[in-house]
């Protein structure tokens, strides 16, 4: 037997805005395996404290496989210590250096380029600036548009992130555009909530054009649910049965309904519900009447326990289902699956009274979309989910809302077009510089880092200066090359200092770096400058100083997604 200690340093994911209480630690499941992949132990790595795992006798060094909710796996060889001990350490060198968005990287796709911070992706959230957003709140039995008022918002080239403070109610974020199907994503109410939106990198045909990631700062519980949503039960079980999360999930009295609901969903999935006293689920149902999930859970437990037909058991189950429906919509996708299970078995049973809620649930289930563990579905309004893909700009969405209001004679319920906003309008009202270890990024600038090689910073600057001078001469070789590359010279800034700046940058251990900064300009102009660099200047620099001049800086374990 030996002992393994695993430490997890993901401090870059710890960013919380002012006013948010300490969030729960990051917890990720791990497997300890031998060189052949035989599992020596299961466990959990937690960011707040080292994890200690006892290993059976085995041959060779152990390897630790850490899994992210996205499915990405990191493997580390454990390092031997004194007297039958081993250690393994995971850190956040693989996570995006924009610390305010690093938390989401664990939940983006398995092949997300955000997990390789030095690799360039061509994601551009600005292309989606016409995406409209709308916030909905379930209030007194009705879904109403709510003012779209994030307390903070951040963005970089690829991501928009917003912070909300949400009251104790059901909430939905709706998105849509001419090329973004209208759909909803649930937001957990009763406290702070953070939403990150980024263009999807997935090749899954079911993907939405935009990926929406949501947190309510219960990182460990949310991670458990993300694994559950992907049917990774072993990972979910590791998380649920180890460490502080295990205790928190099943506390008798909890003022945290979201964690309790997550715990209940886990129990339902793994059949652990049988060993939990029924009153625990009843308490959840009664203590938090503003969330439907406890009602759904209670209904499904009753059905899975076998209901007593003659003594009203079926009617009670139907009543719970109807209560769940009246309370709003579940926060988590697991809720739709269970709603559909309950509605389907009740509907098919001759012993259950017919109820319109069965069809409503069926329609919701048929309209389900994918947003990880959060509930997501398609439709124009929360009350009208639809499996049909609806598309349309802000004008169309507003028009649809107006027509609905007219049909329903909703003139007394406020403006039918309240609460709409454009993604492109979210950020200009708020701006915060990200705490980042990469060269400071100013809005609009793009920086590319290179290993310097034989061409010094001065060499590059001198070359660029000469290039600019040559471009001013109509019959120069530089002009010919630019024309041949199809670059519109009329779009280039007159002065080099308005186009490109060269700086020293941090390189790898023994090779200094050079950063080439493409300066803020209109997108069209910046594209022309980038083309000039990529197709004319950089090839010339390499021809002159050798192939190793200005190699794009990458860490040793570069992994690139294959594309065919």
């Amino acid at each position: 037997m030996s002992d393994l200690t695993v430490t997890l340093n993901y401090s870059s994911t710890d960013y919380t805005p002012a006013g948010v209480a300490q969030q729960t630690p990051v917890a990720l499941p791990l497997k300890v395996v031998d060189a052949d992949g035989v599992v020596l132990a299961d466990g959990v790595a937690i960011s707040s404290e080292p994890s200690s795992i006892t290993l059976p006798d085995f041959e060779g060094p152990p390897f630790v496989r850490l899994t992210w909710p996205s499915g990405r796996v990191q493997t580390r060889r454990a390092v031997p210590g004194a007297a039958s001990t081993w250690t393994a350490h995971f850190d956040d060198s693989r996570i995006s250096h924009n610390e305010w968005s690093a938390w989401a990287v664990l939940r983006l796709g398995e092949k997300s380029t955000f997990a390789e911070p030095s690799s360039e992706n061509d994601l551009d959230i600005q292309k989606f600036d016409k995406v409209w957003l709308r916030l909905w709140k379930y209030d007194e039995g009705r879904w109403m548009p709510a003012p779209f008022a994030p307390t903070q918002a951040f963005h970089n080239r690829a991501v928009v992130q917003m912070e909300f403070q949400l009251g104790a109610a059901c909430w939905l974020l709706q998105l849509g555009a001419a090329r973004v199907p209208w759909h909803f994503v649930a937001l957990p109410g009763g406290g702070p909530c953070r939403v990150l939106i980024t263009p999807s990198e997935s090749t899954d045909p079911r993907r939405e054009p935009l990926k929406v990631v949501v947190t309510s700062y219960r990182r460990d519980a949310e991670t458990l649910l993300e694994f559950l949503a992907r049917d990774s039960l072993r990972a979910a079980t590791s998380l649920a049965t180890t460490g502080p999360l295990a205790t928190r999930l099943l506390e008798e009295k909890s003022d945290d309904p979201i964690s309790a609901i997550i715990g209940a969903y886990f129990l339902l999935r793994t059949d652990g519900w049988r060993s939990v006293p029924t009153h625990w689920f009843d308490n959840l149902f009664h203590m938090f009447p503003w969330i439907p999930d406890p009602a759904i859970i209670r209904c499904v437990i009753a059905l899975r326990s076998g209901v007593s037909v003659g003594t009203g058991g079926v009617e009670r189950a139907v009543a719970d289902l109807e209560t769940a429906w009246r309370r709003g919509l579940p926060v988590f996708a697991e809720g739709i699956t269970l709603l559909q299970e309950a509605a389907s078995v009740l509907r098919a049973s001759e012993r259950a009274p017919k109820h319109e809620v069965f069809e409503s649930i069926e329609r919701l289930a048929a309209s389900e979309a994918w947003a990880g563990a959060m509930l997501s579905f398609r439709g124009a309004r929360p009350t009208i989910p639809s499996p049909e893909k609806q598309l349309g700009s802000l004008e169309r969405a507003m028009d649809a809302s107006l027509r609905f209001a007219e049909n329903q004679e909703l003139s007394t319920m406020g403006s039918a077009v309240d609460g709409f906003t454009l993604l492109g309008d979210v950020v200009p009202n708020f701006w915060a510089k990200a705490r980042s270890s990469s060269p400071a990024s100013v809005p609009g600038e793009k920086t590319v880092n290179y290993e310097r090689g034989p061409a010094t910073r001065g060499d590059v600057e001198a070359y660029l200066q000469k290039l600019w001078e040559d471009l001013l001469r109509p019959n120069s070789e530089a002009r010919r090359q630019v024309d041949q590359a199809g670059i519109d010279i009329n779009r280039l800034p007159q002065r080099l200092e308005d186009a490109i700046r060269v700086e020293d940058a941090v390189g790898s251990v023994d090779i200094p770096g050079t950063a080439v900064v493409f300066l803020a300009a209109a997108p069209i102009v910046k594209k022309v400058v980038l083309d000039l660099w990529k197709f004319v200047a950089l090839p010339q620099i390499r021809r002159r100083w050798g192939d190793s001049a200005l190699r794009e800086r990458k860490p040793p374990k570069t992994r690139k997604a294959r594309s065919r």
Partner: protein, 386 residues
């Protein structure tokens, strides 16, 4: 490889513009782009919108003798009203299309297939789905040409016609364990046709078509006046010119060293705007292929209202023509004898290729139906390749 689409008259913001755009873009990518040597999936289409700066009518064209031009009375109440309107306009131009679509198919299978796809296109709001529909359309027409009277037609019914058509058109595909792809679109398109056909050929629909034409001509005149009076001059361009130039610049920015073709398709009055841009506002602009559709470019040069127009051409009518704009490497002008607002260009310009898009249908053209007809795209593609 960008395509810029410059719209013409009758385009006003809202659903109609955008839905029209999605369907049109899907068919352009799937059918026209390959004829230009482009891969559909790689093509970007930029559609600058200038309709908001066109003519505005203070009394909403109340001066028209009979302004009522709504198709609301027709079609199914469950269907998308815009889609229904487009189908009805198509039928207004198709006097032979009446009655039962199955019987219609037995009489003219190819024509009916075209109508079904046009009806499906009419509801396209998703560019990707429209592209799929376009690809399916090409196969459907190949199937219809090879099988002008398929066996299954004898026993087809309204309830299963679209199912049978879809199945046989896609018979060679990889098997799927359900009817996916464009089936739903075809089914809806057929259903829309079933609902609309009873109105085809009726006097009521005919009268409605005439009123719509009145409105179109009125709006055209308005846009022409507004543009000519406010187009500005080089260096102080008017709003419409600026908007179109911005669209062209956006497309140019998407060019790469490997892919540097620029294609411009200009419909109706958009042709005149493009001509002014190529001759005056941006004479250095390089367009690899200019396609004017249902346009009046030649007419406006006859009237000498372009900034670049010269009174001394022609010196001696009918000899002497204006050279095509230097920036347009190739220029194809599409017109339709039945479109009262479309004109030839070759009598006036050197170097332009006139192409008559023959519909063979009635004279009640509402001027704008080119892009609603799937056959327009295939014929345009064929012409571009030749």
């Amino acid at each position: 490889m960008p395509i810029v689409f410059v719209h013409g008259v009758n385009n006003r913001a809202g659903d109609e513009y955008r839905d029209n755009e999605a369907g049109r873009n899907g068919f352009l990518k799937a059918i026209v782009a390959p004829a230009l040597g482009l891969k559909g999936k790689d093509v970007t289409i930029v559609s600058p919108y200038w309709g908001g700066d066109g003519a505005k009518f203070a009394w909403d064209m109340s001066v028209l003798p009979d302004p009522a031009d709504s198709y609301e009375a027709f079609g199914s109440e469950n269907d998308d009203p815009l889609a229904t309107e487009r189908v009805l306009e198509l039928l207004a131009k198709s006097p032979n299309a009446t009655g039962d679509p199955v019987e219609l198919a037995k009489a003219d299978f190819e024509g009916t297939v075209e109508l079904i796809y046009a009806s499906a296109l009419a509801a396209s709001s998703d560019q990707d789905q429209a592209q799929e529909l376009a690809a399916s359309y090409e196969r459907a027409m190949a199937y219809a040409t090879a099988h002008p009277k398929p066996d299954w037609l004898a026993t087809a019914e309204e309830s299963n016609f679209a199912d049978l058509l879809n199945h046989h058109v896609h018979a060679g595909d990889e098997e799927s364990f359900a009817a996916g792809g464009v089936f739903d679109q075809l089914k809806e398109g057929f259903s829309r046709l079933v609902n609309a056909l009873p109105a085809a050929g009726t006097e009521v629909l005919g009268a409605l078509g005439r009123r719509k034409l009145n409105a179109t001509v009125t709006r055209f005149a308005g846009d022409a006046f507004v543009y000519l009076s406010r187009r500005g001059a080089p260096g102080s361009e008017g709003t419409i010119v600026k908007l179109v130039l911005a669209g062209l610049d956006e497309a140019i920015a998407k060019k790469t060293a490997q892919d540097n073709k620029l294609i411009v398709i200009a419909h109706s009055f958009g042709g005149e705007v493009m001509y002014d841009i190529l001759t005056t506002f941006r004479p250095t602009l390089q367009v690899d292929c200019l396609i004017t559709v249902g346009s009046q470019v030649g007419l406006f040069e006859e009237m000498k209202v372009y900034l670049a127009s010269k009174d001394d051409i022609p010196k001696h009518y009918p000899d002497g023509r204006v050279p095509k704009p230097a920036g347009a490497k190739r220029w194809l002008n599409v017109f339709d004898m039945n479109d009262v607002l479309s004109y030839r260009a070759s009598p006036v310009f050197d170097g332009v290729d006139d192409f008559e898009y023959e519909t063979g249908y009635s004279t009640l053209q509402a001027h704008g139906g080119y892009f609603l007809r799937p056959s327009f795209y295939t014929r345009l593609a064929k012409r571009l390749k030749s």
